[in-house]
Each structure stands twice: as C-alpha cells, then as structure tokens.
C-alpha cells in the first residue's frame, strides 16, 4: 500500500501566491478526505510561518487554514510542512493545538541537523513526524544518505525526498533512494515537481526502489510547473500493481469537483518552468523571477541562468531582486 500525501492545499498555494481562501480549503479538504487521500497537507506554500514579504503574504493565518481543514477531515490525517529558520516553535505549538497529525520537518538537503530539536520535540508530543530533505538534486546520493540517517537518528518516522526544482531524472531518484537504503531502514517518500515532465516517472522510480509514500496534487496544482498529478499517479500506480487507499475514480471525481472552485489550470510546463528546472532552482521562484525581470526590465532567462550559477536554496527569494537589479545595470 502506497501512502499518498495530497499537497494541493500547501504546494498549490505557491500557484496562487498563497491566496487559497477559507472556502477553497474547506471544500477541497472535505472532498479529498472523502476521496480517500491519506494525508492532506495544508498551509502557506513554504509551510508554517511562511507568510512574509520575502515569500508572499497568505490571505489566511496559519491557524485559520489548519482549523478549517481540521474541521472537515474525518478519515485521513492533517499534515503541515515546517522549515526551521522560517517557522518558529510557536508555529509548531499552534499546529499541535489545532490537532495536526503529521509534521513534516524540512531542511535544505545538506542541512538536516537544523531539524533535530523540532523533530525531537514533535515526536515527544506523540505526533507523527517526517523528515524532509528539500532540493535533493543539490546533494550527491552518498551525502543525501548521511543527511537522511541524521533525520532518522532524531526520531523521524519517515523521510521524504523533495525534488523541489523538478531537476531529477528517474535514475537520479533511484541512486538517491538506494544510497539512503544502504545507510538506514527509515521509511521513504518522494515529492516531485514536473518542470521537466518527469514527476510521475520519478515517483514510479522511487516506489520501484521501495519508497512507500508519494506526494501529489490535484491536476498537479503546485509550485512552478506543478507537482505530480494526483489522478495520473493513482492511475499509473494501480496499473503497475501498487495499491492505494484512494481509487482513480475517486480522484478523478475530486479533479472534476475541484475545478469548480480551485483556479488551477491543468499543469502546464511553461518555458520559464523548464529554465527553472534545468538551472536547478526552487520551483516556487518562478513568479518572483517573472516579477523581478519585469520590474528591472531584464531578460527572464538570463536571470534564471545567473541565479542558477549562484546555487540558491529555497528561501533566498531576496537574491532574485538583487540579481535582477545588478543585471539591469550591467546592460
């Protein structure tokens, strides 16, 4: 059985500049829960405490988003994404008060040790806690495995690899999963982005190597070119003999129903998203890069290249503006 985490109400928030409304969250969480999704992740695109000038202000407070979802999720579990350095322990306490079930504590793929106090604290409060390694294309398999082992040693129940830039190809995923399995027996999950059109293929590579958790979004509704499309993923998983709690019919119904109120288009890989992917940049940068290129009247693709050279991590959105300003003066 593959556990599905539906990130529509978290990663999807990137696609609408963090403006998902209370009624959208209520309707979608309720319908996704009824469709049999295992974990429903909710929040600002960058997780708890993400609402900011740096990343974009969300229209609802974290607590309101979580309470709204909590009130309608009956069968599945409510999840959150949390990045140390962005969110604080106060944000985690709020999530615990509201009744969040699954805490996904994330760091850049080489910085796992910043998650230790948070993983330990959430675990001590009896909650499920997953470690998340973001931008996992930026570390070689052996290094990634060491970072995964660290999160396991802090007490994480599972480890989610995120291809936040949508850069990886299926073999890159296999090597990473294999390397982690050689070092630790922690349960593994994979979170894809579709910048290079490989989200479903990468997710399948991960489960074929033994991953037991996959992330997906309805119609791919997520940052950049979107995430793994939930309907496609369920169809492919089931056809390949992997069982899921939700059926294709149920998620197809969910896709149809949510089109009425989620202003997401069927995932589209724009050329900017491809540039984002090949330059290994965080998928959530796309709207920031577009806006900065317009403001400073510089070439968007040249900006992607320059930013890629600077090896930015998620959270460095401020560098986009600075680089665009610099580029505008060197013309």
């Amino acid at each position: 059985m593959i556990t599905i985490t539906d990130c529509t109400l978290r990663d999807g928030n990137h696609a609408v500049r963090h403006q998902l409304s209370e009624s959208q969250i209520r309707q979608y969480a309720k319908q996704a829960d009824a469709a049999g999704v295992d974990i429903i992740e909710v929040g600002h695109g960058n997780g708890l405490g993400g609402s900011s000038a740096l990343l974009g202000t969300s229209c609802l407070a974290d607590r309101d988003m979580l309470e709204t979802a909590r009130s309608v999720i009956k069968n599945g579990r409510l999840g959150i994404h949390f990045i140390p350095g962005l969110g604080t322990s106060t944000d985690l306490s709020t999530a615990i008060e509201v009744g969040v079930d699954v805490f996904r504590i994330a760091s850049h793929c080489t910085e796992a040790n910043v998650t230790a106090p948070y993983i330990e604290s959430v675990r001590n409060q009896g909650k499920s806690v997953y470690g998340v390694l973001m931008m996992s294309h930026m570390a070689e398999p052996a290094e990634l495995a060491q970072q995964a082992a660290l999160m396991a040693s802090y007490g994480a129940d599972a480890l989610i690899l995120m291809d936040s830039a949508g850069y990886l190809a299926p073999d890159d995923v296999r090597w990473r999963v294999q390397a982690i399995q050689e070092l630790t027996d922690i349960k593994l999950g994979f979170h894809a982005h579709n910048n290079l059109g490989l989200a479903v293929a990468n997710s399948m590579a991960a489960v074929e190597e033994g991953a037991e958790l996959l992330d997906a979004c309805i119609m791919g509704f997520g940052a950049g070119a979107g995430n793994t499309q939930l309907e496609t993923l369920i169809a492919v998983l089931n056809r390949s003999g992997y069982r899921t709690r939700c059926t294709f019919d149920a998620v197809a119904g969910l896709a149809h129903a949510s089109q009425q109120y989620l202003d997401c288009l069927t995932p589209h890989i724009g050329t900017a998203n491809i540039a984002s992917g090949i330059n290994g940049l965080f998928s959530g940068f796309a709207p920031h890069i577009k806006r900065a290129a317009e403001q400073f009247k510089v070439d968007e693709f040249q900006l992607y290249r320059l930013l890629g050279q600077r090896q930015l991590v998620a959270g460095q959105e401020d560098i986009i503006l600075e680089t665009a300003a610099r580029l505008s003066t060197t013309h």
Binding site: G85, T110, E111
Partner: protein, 296 residues
Amino acid sequence: MEAVISRKRAAIIGSGSIGIDLMYKAMRSPHLDLKMVVGRSQASEGLSRARDLGIATSAEGIDFLAHHASGIDIVFDATSAQSHRINDQFFRKANLMAIDMTPAKIGAICVPSINLDSIVAERNVNLVTCGGQASIPLAYAIAQAFDTLEYIEVASTIASDSAGMATRENINQYILTTEQALRQFSGTGKSKAVLNINPAKPGINMQTTVFAKGRYHSLEKVKASVREMVVRVQRYVPGYEVVLEPVESKGYLTVSVTVRGSGDYLPAYAGNLDIINCAAIAVAEFNAVSWERTAA
C-alpha cells in the same frame, strides 16, 4: 609628550570559532590588551592557536578566569547562553564588564552604529545576533526616514560552513531574539526574521535583506538615511556593503547588504561571525575610551 593609551585588559572565554576570531581582532585593537583565552579543552585548535601567539590559555574555563579576575577589566563571553547565565553571576561579583556573544540576553542590547553611547554605564552588553547586527542599522535608518512604519522583516542567508552547531541548535532563539531587537530599535509592533543556510562551495558571503512596510514621502530621504547609516556601520565592519539600493517592490521598501569578513580566523565569506565580533570590539573599545575620559 605622546599620550599614553592605557589599554583595557581583556579576556575571552570560549575557544570556538567566535572566540578565536575575536582573539585576532582584540590583539589588533589599540585599546585592548588581551590577557587570556580560556576554554574547556586543552586540545582545542583555538587554545593551541592562542598559545602559539603567546597568550595565556587554560582549559579550566571560568575557574581559571576567576583566579585571575583582578588582572582583567573586560571579558568576552563566547560560550553558550546557558553557560553565560552562570558566568554572569561571577562577572558581576568580580566587577568585570561582560560582552555577551551568546543569545542569553541578560544585559543591555547594543548595535554600535545606533546606541553605543547608551551602554557606557552597562556592565553586561548583549549583541543580539549576527543577522540583527547586519539588519537593525538598516531597519533603524528606514524607521528614521519613514513617516509611519508598520512592519519590518529581515531575511539573512549564511554559508553552511559558517553555521556552527550552536547556531543550528538555536535557530529558534536566533529568530526570536532578532525579531525582538528589530521591534525595539525600529519602533514597530510587528517584525519577522528568517534565516537560510546555503551550502554552496565556495561559501557565499552573508547576505541580509530588510523589507519595510509603512508610509514615507521621499524615497531619496530613505536612501540618504540608509547611506548615512551604512557609513557608520562600515567604520567598525569594513566588509559591510549595500548590494541592493532601497527600492520599492511588492509594496515593501527593500534593501540588501552583504557582509564580507576580514578572514581573521574564519574564511572571509563568514561575514555573519565577523560582524558580531566587530560589534563586540567596538563596544569594548568604546568602553575603554570612555573609561580613559572619565579617569582624566
């Protein structure tokens, strides 16, 4: 006759990267006479470097310092917040001026470009955080030039190799301390701090961006205020440099600086460690100079 500068006798407790970088800076200061560096491990690289430079060292930490307290005026505490709370009781008894490099926040908060004058009588001075030292001068300069300031936010990115275990284990404390000091110095009720760690090789320079929301009537006035403040910071942090001039973006006045360190102990990209150490030296030197004036 040439004026004789009476130098303040200084000690450093904590022989980690902050303590050792401070050692080089203290040795260069015309106002300080570094008497000792104490730590907890005789075998530490820091103590070994201090010994090589002919400075008295001890692995007995605070106990050694206590035995020699009469020969010391100023102590830089580069241990941990927890240790500093204990050490501070001794510093007070021995009447030592303590410059607290930890996030213990016992004493008066100082950002030298803003409130150096106000700490003249303080016996324990705290230096907020590295991100605080980089961003608060800008936040203050912006607040001065704004008619009303509603919100201030700071995002800092530091190189992975410059973020030691103490920083990593205390990110939460870092954020809370930085946010609190931002409110205190800018006068706003709302603040947010973000810290990113970037592993790129070679290491990236520390970079800090300030976002301000509020009303101002002249962008030129804001720019001038920021420019003036940057010059003040550069007097004690030579590697402090504006990389994004104040600009309006998404409804926020935005300005970015990088901090390149002097490379005393850590590589030059570790501007985050350099700036808080430069601030500590500025506090110690100010104290030394004020003391001379009082004595005269």
